[in-house]
């Protein structure tokens, strides 16, 4: 609370009070009151006005300074009403009441959205599980009728992948955590991702090389399978047309943790695009060439990694290769629990 601003704000009151005192003096002299008496009365009036103004200023000043300080210190400004105490003056009480009322209504509003969000997420989860049943039937039908099925398997796999990505998007965007951290073998996870993508990889006549994956990391098995699945899907999608796809996956183990590397010899990523590839809806140069890019895959991947406490990095040279590294920390599990 600035003193001069406060004075400026009350200037009308001062003018009125001064005028009243001046008029009183004029009247008193008009009635021939002795000049000593006039001086005494004037003094009493001036001192009273000054005292009352100072008292008013200081009681308000304390309250507003505390209010401003609280506001400046809070990182979540909307929590302010929780910190404000009722002041002694009336207007302040009205204001605090209004603030608290606002706060309550806002909290209710937020709770309502949270509930809707949660219901929607639950619906998505249920929908995904329901949708997987006919997909499972279709896969079996394809297998049971090989001649018709062969062509459809690839498309069914695409449907299944899209369904899966909806599920993990819903999961990655929500604060509710529903993962299980346990020891997971990278070899097993990579194997099942490779088997899932076998048809697509074989059509491209891709070669895969793995090294040192026989190692356990602390993570959620299903989530990491989805993450590696997305990386592989990207390698397949953005493979270079003038050479055969070659995928290499390996793991380094040092005292900080395990680093999983996944490298392809595809199109690579433009240098200016690299800082943005984990951002939502970013498609970049490769995305403009490929109409089916959504910009969601790597965004979901980095979100999930963050949730799980893994670091994800990318190294790439345009036209040569892309390498994604996932760092599984050794102590992350304990930090999180």
């Amino acid at each position: 609370m600035n003193f001069w601003d406060y004075i400026k704000d009350r200037i009308i009151i001062y003018i009125m009070k001064t005028t009243a005192i001046v008029i009183s003096i004029i009247f008193l002299s008009a009635f021939n009151v002795k000049s000593q008496a006039i001086i005494v009365v004037t003094n009493i009036l001036v001192v009273t006005v000054l005292m009352s103004e100072l008292w008013e200023y200081f009681r308000k000043r304390d309250f507003y300074i505390r209010l401003n300080n609280s506001l400046a210190e809070l990182d979540k400004k909307y929590l302010l009403p929780e910190l404000v105490n009722y002041p002694e003056f009336y207007e302040g009480k009205i204001m605090v009441n209004a603030l608290r009322e606002c706060d309550k209504s806002m909290a209710e509003n937020v709770a309502e959205y949270r509930r809707q969000n949660k219901e929607f997420r639950e619906y998505i989860e249920m929908w995904v599980h329901e949708a997987k049943i006919p997909v499972a039937s279709l896969r079996l039908m394809c297998h049971n009728n090989q001649d018709v099925g062969r062509k459809m398997t690839g498309q069914i796999k695409r449907i299944d992948d899209y369904i899966e990505s909806v599920l993990y998007y819903a999961r990655s965007e929500n604060p509710e955590l529903d993962y299980v951290i346990k020891e997971v073998s990278l070899k097993k996870i990579f194997g099942s991702v490779a088997v899932r993508n076998r048809e697509a990889l074989q059509i491209l006549d891709a070669a895969i090389e793995t090294d040192g994956l026989d190692i356990n990391v602390l993570t959620d098995g299903k989530w990491i399978e989805f993450i590696i699945g997305q990386l592989m899907a990207n390698s397949i999608k953005y493979c270079s047309p003038d050479r055969k796809l070659f995928l290499r996956a390996w793991a380094d183990n040092n005292d900080k943790g395990v680093i999983f590397h996944f490298r392809d010899n595809g199109k690579g990523i433009l240098k200016e695009d690299i800082p943005y590839i984990f951002e939502k809806s970013f498609t970049g140069h490769n995305g403009r060439e490929n109409k089916s890019s959504t910009g969601m895959g790597l965004f979901i991947v980095s979100n999930l990694c963050e949730r799980l406490g893994h670091r994800i990095d990318v190294v790439s040279e345009y036209g040569k290769y892309t390498e994604i590294q996932i760092v599984f920390g050794k102590n992350d599990f304990y930090k999180m629990s």
Partner: protein, 220 residues
């Protein structure tokens, strides 16, 4: 012949599963009335149960827990749920395996035969006519002659042996090889098969593996 009970409430999925398993040479029974699944499970005289988790009435995990109290018939849980929590729970309740939908049919069959084998405790050597196949040392022997097979060749030969007299498609071979972390491409598979044939002919049975055009291979 092994008998399998399918507990799955989605009619279409259940039918397709039956077809798949019957084609693979199993006797299949299914459940039509979901009011007393537990009783039907108990009364069924089968070698393996495929149990869905999301069932009307009692869910699969509850059924599994109750069933495990007095029976150790192998059970494979089938589910469309995709979180680890269910898997951990199911395994701790005594499930033998856990497979999520939509499953790869070949892998489903592999897992089933793996669970059945585990429950019979078959030895590590098998006979193919007068050839002794040792999975431990990765070799085949006939009349005192021995041939060492590579891991890939062993997987291929083992698969053909499991389906003796039936056609095994290249696609199925690939799935099995990839499932064993051997990421071969089409050419490499052909090379492996021809090497395997050479090794078999060294033992005097060069014509054991027959090629069926556009269908696959068959071990006579």
């Amino acid at each position: 012949m092994n008998k399998i009970l399918i507990v799955e409430d989605d009619r279409t999925l259940c039918e397709e599963l039956s077809i798949l398993l019957e084609n693979a040479g199993y006797l299949v029974s299914t459940i039509a009335d979901f009011n007393d699944v537990f009783l039907q499970m108990k009364e069924a005289d089968v070698d393996l149960i495929l149990l869905d988790i999301n069932l009307p009435g009692e869910n699969g995990e509850v059924l599994l827990q109750k069933y495990r109290k007095d029976s150790d018939t192998p059970i494979i849980m089938l589910t469309s749920r995709t979180d680890d929590i269910d898997e951990v729970l199911s395994m701790s309740y005594g499930a033998d395996d856990y497979i999520t939908k939509p499953y790869n049919p070949t892998i489903l069959l592999l897992r089933i035969s793996a669970v059945l084998k585990r429950s019979v405790k078959k030895g590590q050597t098998q006979m193919y006519n007068d050839v002794q196949v040792s999975f431990v040392s990765g070799s085949i022997m006939r009349n005192g002659m021995e041939q060492i097979l590579t891991k890939n060749e062993m997987i291929i030969f083992g698969l053909l042996l499991d389906h003796k007299g039936e056609i095994v498609s290249r696609d199925d071979m690939m799935t099995v090889l990839w499932d064993n972390d051997e990421y071969l491409n089409d050419n490499a598979l052909s090379v492996n098969i021809s090497r395997l044939r050479t090794k078999l002919s060294e033992l005097g049975i060069g014509d054991a593996i027959e090629t069926r055009k556009k269908q696959g291979y068959l071990l006579k």
